[in-house]
């Protein structure tokens, strides 16, 4: 790396936008769990995709080698980010593209709105993009009098249903086909009133609805899946052809991309374009991938812009235990395999990024102290399924534990009195520090039995331990401890080797 760091590290600058959760995860999860229709939809969808992913991954004899290459490539990118960004900018600019840099969501939104206004239009078409979701671009444009039309089918379902995305790949995963049909019938102008809930017909209705928009739009907005530093090339991976429409037909194309999306060179695509489609939709390859390098005369948009977005990414990069979260390629495999996500759905996470990756990425981008984001690292049973599924091997469970530590540490300094948890941990430390201490505590077991009463169950523990008994009972403790029972039942066989202290 050519950059030499001198002096004290600066304080990280955190991101903003649709990343701050307003409700702690447990409360939101509790509410979402009550939605049985959503739970059934999610169960169906996540199980479908899991099976598909496993099947296509098993086809490749070198899947693990591809994961190793993907992971190492991303580590290399992060370590050389300043040089790669400069190289990308030079190449993209040399081919007629224009680069803008945005420190945060507000700056990015303003750049995009100004570029749209320059084209004298108040309508834009959009390709699905997590970055623009994160910065709240649609909401900002609406305030500025600009209508942004989402063209991805799932985004369209969410937008027409006045809903929020609940998954990064399939934002309407929480809706089943009948619910989608109902939204179309209610919100889509000129829709066939006899529309059934057959997915093929629903897709056709979306095609009819958006066709005119595509053919007449002057400005399109996209995200990007990859950017190649050595050529200045951008790539968008999609299925429906809405991406191709947006990237090809309008005169102006504005792409918003996080700074971490870079890859060093063309050959890296051979790794990531095998990892991404199989991990995300469980396909050998997605139907369409578009690559463009600046402006090509006579083919596609002639006014091409890219907004490079920080919005907390540099803060995540500054966390030495958490920085690999930026290696994420947004495939969504982790949420599809997560037992917590499968039950609570994406809305419970309250951020643009739900699921296991969201539970680490969101607090890393905003800082652990932001609003209720400190509850996110606890949204996991630490089972590790996400780590196994991750195509770039992000150790999500390890980062979750690290962030839980950050949360505890950040609260430690702010309270004058020790909390119940502090006292319990102190007590546990004393009890487990010596056999004698433990033996003394175990003399209390018969009282536990007494507390359990006739049905031999403790139904409610006091204080914060009540959270544990909220959804389960504790069986009555035995009358004597294991150690007492052992002492009474077993006479030492070889007393010569016995050493009593």
């Amino acid at each position: 790396m050519s950059n030499v760091f001198m002096g004290m590290p600066a304080l990280p600058v955190f991101g903003d936008g649709n990343l701050h959760i307003e409700e702690p995860f447990p409360a939101a999860a509790h509410r979402e769990l009550g939605n049985t229709q959503m739970r059934a939809n999610l169960r169906h969808a996540t199980h479908t995709i899991r099976d598909k992913r496993l099947k296509v991954v098993a086809e490749l004899p070198d899947w693990e080698e591809l994961r190793d290459a993907g992971s190492a490539t991303k580590d290399l990118v992060m370590a050389n980010l300043p040089a790669l960004l400069e190289e990308f900018e030079k190449n993209f600019t040399a081919r007629g593209g224009i680069i803008h840099w945005a420190r945060d969501s507000h700056e990015a939104n303003k750049i995009v709105a100004d570029l749209i206004r320059e084209q004298n239009t108040t309508e834009v078409v959009k390709v699905k993009s997590m970055a623009t979701q994160e910065i709240g671009l649609n909401e900002y444009l609406e305030e500025q009098g600009i209508s942004a039309f989402e063209t991805d089918l799932a985004e369209l379902i969410v937008q027409l249903g006045h809903d929020k995305p609940s998954h990064i790949l399939v934002p309407a995963i929480h809706k089943n086909r009948t619910e989608v049909r109902d939204i179309f019938l209610k919100e889509m102008p000129n829709v066939d009133p006899n529309l059934t809930d057959e997915p093929r017909l629903l897709a056709m209705a979306a095609r009819e609805h958006l066709r005119r928009k595509f053919l007449s739009a002057k400005v399109a907005i996209s995200g990007a899946n990859f950017a190649l530093a050595d050529s200045g090339t951008l790539a968008v991976v999609e299925s429906e052809g809405n991406g191709r429409m947006c990237l090809t037909l309008p005169e102006t194309l504005i792409t918003v991309m996080g700074i971490e999306k870079l890859l060093p060179a063309k050959e890296d695509l051979e790794v990531f374009m095998q990892l991404l489609p199989r991990s995300s939709t469980g396909e050998r390859m997605n139907p369409y991938t578009s690559l463009w390098t600046g402006v090509t005369e006579g083919d596609g948009p002639q006014n091409v812009h890219l907004v490079l977005l920080d919005n907390g990414r540099t803060a995540a990069l500054a966390d030495k235990y958490g920085r690999t979260a930026l290696n994420c390629i947004r495939c969504s495999a982790c949420m599809n395999v997560c037992p917590v996500y499968e039950r609570t759905g994406g809305h419970a996470y309250g951020s643009t990024y739900p699921g296991p990756i969201g539970a680490i990425l969101t607090p890393l981008l905003t800082g652990i102290k932001s609003e209720e984001n400190s509850s996110l690292p606890y949204a996991s049973s630490l089972c590790g399924a996400c780590f196994d599924a991750c195509p770039v091997k992000i150790n999500i469970p390890e980062i979750l534990v690290h962030l839980r530590g950050e949360d505890v540490d950040s609260k430690r300094g702010t309270k004058k009195l020790p909390t119940q948890m502090d006292l319990m941990m102190k007590g546990a430390g004393w009890a487990f520090s010596s056999g004698k201490h433990l033996a003394l505590l175990e003399k209390g077991l018969p009282f536990g039995k007494l507390a359990a009463g006739r049905d031999k169950k403790i139904k409610r523990l006091p204080g914060i331990a009540a959270g544990w008994t909220q959804s389960r009972d504790i069986p009555a403790p035995p009358a004597q401890s294991f150690r007492d029972w052992w002492k009474k039942d077993h006479t030492p066989v070889a007393p010569t080797h016995q050493q009593e202290n």
Binding site: M1, N3, D310
Partner: protein, 208 residues
């Protein structure tokens, strides 16, 4: 400080304690040897799985197959660099898109089909790459018409993606196509036919 300078300095500060990562291990498959017949069989299997229609023909049989595939088209567009033996210049349904004589978006929308060649294909994933050269045309012509007839010369087929990338000029506008347009957005089940061409006919040509 400009936004660029500030972001770059934030990154540099963030990385002050970052370890130097090692080289990227590339132990995945980058070469293969597969006989032509197997390669064709693999590509056909993948494309049919995507619900594309596939013909495998010898070079002399290509023009007749193209006629057959386009028989229901009310009109069709070809890029200016298509081999002139592949089409009948007297066909009244034919429209040629050339630099300086491009079809407008609405003209393309009224055109029912498009005939193109292709640059390189990956058998293992069923992927056909268009690179905008003269026998493939600009991106819009293979996007707006609802029916795409795509010619794949056997010499352009490789087994693996790592074998295909060296054959691509990455700075050209590239479109990788793996089947007709599709979506998995409703209950994560794949449905063919959304905004891109809903019908994809692939003609694999031996001896080309």
């Amino acid at each position: 400080m400009s936004a660029k300078e500030e972001i770059l300095s934030r990154i540099t500060a963030a990385l002050h304690d970052a370890p130097n990562p090692g080289p990227v291990p590339r132990d995945y498959r980058t070469t293969s040897d597969m006989a032509e017949a197997e390669l064709i069989e693999l590509l056909v299997d993948r494309l049919e799985d995507y619900k594309a229609h596939v013909d495998v023909v010898d070079a002399p049989g290509l023009p007749a197959t193209i006629v057959e595939r386009l028989k229901d088209a009310t009109s069709y567009v070809i890029p200016h660099g298509i081999d002139e033996r592949w089409f009948d210049a007297a066909d009244t349904r034919l429209r040629i898109d050339a630099p300086g004589a491009v079809l407008s978006v609405s003209e393309l929308d009224e055109t029912s089909a498009v005939l193109t060649s292709s640059a390189v294909s990956v058998a293992e994933s069923g992927t056909i790459v268009l690179d905008g050269t003269a026998n493939q045309g600009r991106r819009a012509i293979s996007l707006v018409p609802d029916h795409h007839v795509c010619v794949v010369p056997v010499s352009s087929i490789v087994r693996l993606l790592p074998e295909a990338l060296p054959r691509m000029d990455i700075t050209r506008p590239l479109t990788w196509i793996s089947g007709p347009s599709a979506t998995s957005d409703i209950e994560l089940e794949r449905v063919e036919g959304v905004h891109g061409p809903r019908q994809l006919d692939v003609i694999i040509v031996k001896g080309l």
